[in-house]
C-alpha cells in the first residue's frame, strides 16, 4: 500500500499548479462562471491536448500515456484547489469506462482531449434502449442533472437494455433527438444539464449487461472526486490560515485566539485524515481491485463531509467578508456542497460502505 506521492507525481502537481496560477487565476474562473461558456476552452486545450493529462491513465496502445490514477489524482487535486472550470473529472471517468468496455476506436480522441466524453449516470429510472434494426439502437428517456453534459462532444449514457440489465451507449452530442438543457446550479464552476433522449441513435459499447463496468465506474468516480475534493479542502484551509495571520481584532491577530486556532487545528486534522483516505483509495484503483468497492465507499463517505465542513468553517472564520459575492469563500462552499451530493446523496455512499462492511443497511 503506497500512501505518499511519488517524485514524478509531485512534479506533475507542481507543473499543473503553476500553469493554473498563471493561466486560470480566480478572475478567469469567475469570468467563465458568470458567462454562458460552460468551460474554459483555452485552458482545456492546453491541459488536455498539450500536456496530455486526460490520457494519463489510458494505456499507451489506446493513445494515453499509461501512467496511472496516482497521476490523475495529482492533477485533480490541483484542479479542485483552483476550481478550474474544465470537464477533466468527467473526461477521465469516461475514458476509464471506455477502456473497461474495450471501446478502442473511441479512446484515442478521448485520451487526447480532442473529443470531450462524459458519463450520464441516471439516479432514478434509466433511459430505455431499443433495437430498431440489426445492431442499431435508439434511446428513449431522460437523465437529470448530468455534470459537464453541455461541454461534451460524446455522451456515454447508462440505459436499460431489457430484463433489468444495464448497458452503456455512446450518443453523439449532435445526435437527432438529443436535447441538453442547462440547469441553474448552486456551484457556478461545474455546469449541469438535463439530457432528454427522444429516439436518439446510440451505439452500444461492450455487452448489453455492463453492470460490473458501470459499478466499477462509480467506484472510480468516487475516488477521483475525492482527490479533487482533497485539493479544494487543502486550499480552503491554506487560505483561512493565511487570513488568520493577517486579520487583527481586539488588538490581536485572530489566529492567536484559541477559539479560532483550535478550530483551525481541527480542520488540519481533517486534512491529514482526508489525505490518508484519498491516497489509500487512489492506490486501490491502481493496485488493489479487490479493495476498491470498500475504499471507494470510504472515500466518498469521508470526503463529502470533510470537504463541506472545512469549506463551511473556512467561510465562517472569515467573518462577514466571507458572505460577500466578491470573496471567493462562497465558490468553495458551493463546490463542496455540490460535490458532496454529485454522485448521490451521502446516505447512498454510506449504504455502499455498509454493504462492503457486511452491515445491514
Amino acid at each position: 500500500m503506497r500512501l505518499i506521492p511519488t517524485e514524478e507525481q509531485r512534479e506533475l502537481a507542481a507543473t499543473v499548479r503553476s500553469f493554473l496560477a498563471d493561466r486560470v487565476p480566480m478572475s478567469r474562473v469567475r469570468e467563465i462562471a458568470e458567462s454562458d461558456e460552460p468551460f474554459d476552452r483555452t485552458a482545456w486545450t492546453r491541459l488536455s491536448g498539450e500536456l496530455g493529462l486526460t490520457g494519463l491513465a489510458v494505456p499507451e496502445e489506446h493513445g494515453g500515456s499509461g501512467a496511472g490514477f496516482g497521476e490523475v489524482a495529482a492533477v485533480l487535486e490541483e484542479l479542485g484547489a483552483a476550481l478550474t472550470p474544465v470537464p477533466y473529472f468527467s473526461a477521465v471517468v469516461a475514458a476509464d469506462l471506455l477502456a473497461a468496455l474495450d471501446a478502442k476506436d473511441l479512446l484515442p480522441d478521448v485520451a487526447s482531449g480532442a473529443t470531450i466524453a462524459i458519463l450520464a449516470r441516471p439516479e432514478g429510472e434509466p433511459p430505455v434502449g431499443r433495437i430498431i434494426d440489426r445492431g442499431e439502437w435508439v434511446l428513449e428517456g431522460a437523465v437529470e442533472r448530468v455534470p459537464d453534459a453541455v461541454s461534451a462532444d460524446l455522451l456515454l449514457v447508462v440505459a436499460s437494455t431489457g430484463e433489468g440489465r444495464r448497458g452503456v451507449f455512446a450518443v453523439a452530442a449532435d445526435a437527432p433527438g438529443l436535447v441538453r438543457t442547462p440547469l441553474t446550479t448552486l456551484d457556478l464552476t461545474r455546469p449541469q444539464a438535463r439530457i432528454e433522449l427522444g429516439g436518439a441513435p446510440a451505439r452500444l459499447l461492450g455487452p448489453s449487461d455492463a453492470s460490473d463496468a458501470i459499478d466499477r465506474s462509480l467506484d472510480v468516480a468516487s475516488v477521483l472526486l475525492a482527490a479533487e475534493q482533497l485539493g479544494g479542502l487543502r486550499r480552503c484551509l491554506d487560505a483561512i490560515v493565511e487570513y488568520a495571520k493577517l486579520r487583527v481584532q481586539f488588538g490581536r491577530y485572530v489566529g492567536s485566539f484559541q477559539g479560532v486556532k483550535h478550530k483551525l487545528a481541527d480542520m488540519h486534522c481533517t486534512l491529514e485524515q482526508a489525505e490518508s483516505v484519498v491516497r489509500y483509495a487512489v492506490w486501490a484503483v491502481d493496485e488493489a481491485p479487490d479493495e476498491l468497492p470498500e475504499a471507494a465507499a470510504l472515500a466518498a463517505s469521508f470526503m463529502g463531509r470533510a470537504y463541506f465542513q472545512v469549506a463551511k468553517d473556512h467561510l465562517l472564520l472569515y467573518g462577514g467578508i466571507g458572505f460577500t459575492w466578491e470573496h471567493d469563500a462562497h465558490l468553495y462552499y458551493k463546490r463542496a456542497k455540490a460535490d458532496e451530493v454529485m454522485l448521490g446523496a451521502p446516505r447512498t455512499h454510506r449504504a455502499r460502505l455498509a454493504a462492503a462492511l457486511d452491515l445491514p443497511d
Binding site: 505518499i4 484559541q258 488540519h268 491529514e272 483516505v277
Partner: protein
C-alpha cells in the same frame, strides 16, 4: 537477497525462538532477561552510536528490525520511557561521562528509566513547576513533588526538571538532572487513577542530594531539553497506538452487535459506520506517517495530530460501545467498562487535547501565538497552580 533482507529474516527467526517460551504475562525479571538477550543479539539501539553501546547502523536496519518485530508481542514496555525519551535526550544533551555511564545499561535493560516533569501545580503549563533544586557545594538539593510518572516503582534513574533560579522568568530558571531513584529522600507512591488501578506514581523529594555532574545540558537550560523529550513522547504515543489492542474497535463492536442480534436495530449501522470512518482514517494516517518517516520526512509537531485523533477515537469507541451494548456496558469488569474508564486517559496523558490543538496551531500551521502574560515576569512573582479566589475576583 540483500543484507537487509537477510538481517530481517535473521531477526524474525531470533524473535520467534526467544518469544516461544515467554509466559503470557511476563514479570519484571523475565522482561529484564529478555531485554539483555535482545541487546546481546544486536537488536537494541540499532541506530545509537557504537561508542556508547549502540550499533551505529542506519535507519534502514532499524526499519528492518521493526518489520521483523511487527508480528510479535515483546515484553519491553517497562523500558519504553528510557528508550523513547530519556536515552535520546541524554544522547543529544548529555556529557561524555553521562553517555558512557548510562546508555549501555539503559539499552541492555539493566537500568530502567522514568521521566519526572509534571507536578500537581504544573500540568499543561509544565514550565511553572515548583520543585526546586538549590546548590550546596558539589550537590544540588531537591525538594518538591512530581506526578503522573510511569514505571517510577521499577525505575533506577529518572530525568527530573526542577527550578534552579526563581528570580528569572519561568522558562529560564529550570535545570534537567539525572536522579538516582534509590537515593535517600526519594519517595515513590502509587497513584490510584480512575480505572481503580495504579498505572502512574507520585514522587516526593525531601532534601534529595544530586551530584553536580548529573546536570543534563546547561544549568537553567532545562526547558529546551524538556521540550525535546516531550516531542518524542507525543510521536510515540500517537504512532505506536495502531499496534495495541482496541477493545472498542469497529471490528470488535460489529462482532459484539452480531452476537447479540443487534445488527439491523435502528441506529446501530450508523453508529458503527461513524466509528469505522474515524478508525480507518486514523489507521491510514498512521500508516502514511510511518511511510513518510521511512522516506525521510519527519513528522515533528504533526505527531500531535495523531495523538489528538487517537484521543478522540478512543473516547468515541468506548462511547459507541456503550450506545450499542446498553446497560451491559457499565457492569462487570469486561473490556467495555474498562475501555470507558480508560478512555479519558488518552485525551490527557502526554498533553491534553487543548494543548495538542495549540501545538498544531502554533507549530504546524504557524499561527500567531497567544500573548503570554507570564513570559517576562520573574517566576517568584507569578501565581502558579490552583489558587484560592481572592476577594473581589
Amino acid at each position: 537477497m540483500t543484507d537487509l533482507d537477510e538481517y530481517r529474516d535473521q531477526a524474525r527467526a531470533w524473535l520467534a525462538e526467544r518469544t516461544a517460551d515467554l509466559p503470557p504475562d511476563p514479570g519484571l525479571a523475565e522482561s529484564r532477561a529478555f531485554m539483555a538477550d535482545l541487546y546481546d543479539a544486536g537488536h537494541v539501539g540499532i541506530t545509537w552510536p557504537a561508542e556508547y553501546g549502540g550499533r551505529g547502523l542506519s535507519a534502514a536496519e532499524e526499519r528492518a528490525f521493526q518489520q521483523a518485530a511487527a508480528g510479535f508481542t515483546l515484553p519491553v514496555g517497562v523500558f519504553g520511557i528510557g528508550l523513547g525519551m530519556c536515552g535520546p535526550t541524554l544522547l543529544s544533551l548529555g556529557t561524555e561521562e553521562q553517555k558512557r555511564r548510562y546508555i549501555r545499561p539503559l539499552l541492555r535493560g539493566e537500568e530502567i528509566w522514568c521521566q519526572m516533569f509534571s507536578e500537581p501545580g504544573a500540568g499543561s503549563d509544565v514550565a511553572s513547576l515548583q520543585t526546586r533544586a538549590v546548590l550546596d557545594g558539589d550537590h544540588w538539593v531537591v525538594d518538591g513533588q512530581k506526578v503522573w510518572t510511569s514505571v517510577a516503582r521499577q525505575a533506577d534513574f529518572g530525568l527530573l526538571i526542577a527550578r534552579t533560579d526563581p528570580d528569572v522568568p519561568k522558562h529560564q530558571g529550570i535545570t534537567m538532572f539525572v536522579v538516582d531513584m534509590h537515593a535517600p529522600g526519594v519517595d515513590v507512591r502509587p497513584l490510584r487513577d480512575m480505572t481503580g488501578e495504579s498505572h502512574f506514581n507520585e514522587i516526593f523529594f525531601t532534601s534529595v542530594r544530586v551530584p553536580v555532574e548529573n546536570v543534563v545540558g546547561e544549568v537553567n537550560g532545562g526547558w529546551s531539553a524538556a521540550v525535546t523529550t516531550l516531542l518524542h513522547e507525543r510521536v510515540s504515543i500517537g504512532m505506536g497506538a495502531a499496534r495495541t489492542e482496541r477493545p472498542a474497535s469497529f471490528a470488535a463492536l460489529r462482532k459484539a452487535a452480531r452476537e447479540r442480534g443487534l445488527l439491523g436495530e435502528p441506529g446501530v449501522t450508523d453508529l458503527l459506520l461513524d466509528l469505522y470512518l474515524q478508525e480507518r482514517a486514523f489507521d491510514l494516517l498512521n500508516a502514511r506517517m510511518s511511510q513518510e518517516v521511512k522516506a525521510g520526512i519527519m513528522p515533528g509537531a504533526r505527531g500531535s495530530v495523531a495523538k489528538l485523533l487517537l484521543a478522540d477515537l478512543t473516547l468515541a469507541g468506548a462511547d459507541v460501545a456503550s450506545e450499542i451494548l446498553g446497560p451491559e456496558s457499565v457492569t462487570g469488569d469486561g473490556p467495555v467498562p474498562r475501555a470507558l474508564a480508560w478512555a479519558p486517559g488518552m485525551a490527557l496523558g502526554g498533553g491534553t487535547n487543548e494543548i495538542m490543538r495549540n501545538i498544531i496551531g502554533d507549530r504546524v500551521l504557524g499561527l500567531p501565538r497567544e500573548p503570554q502574560l507570564d513570559r517576562n515576569i520573574p517566576f517568584k512573582a507569578l501565581k502558579v497552580g490552583t489558587q484560592a479566589k481572592e476577594d473581589g475576583e
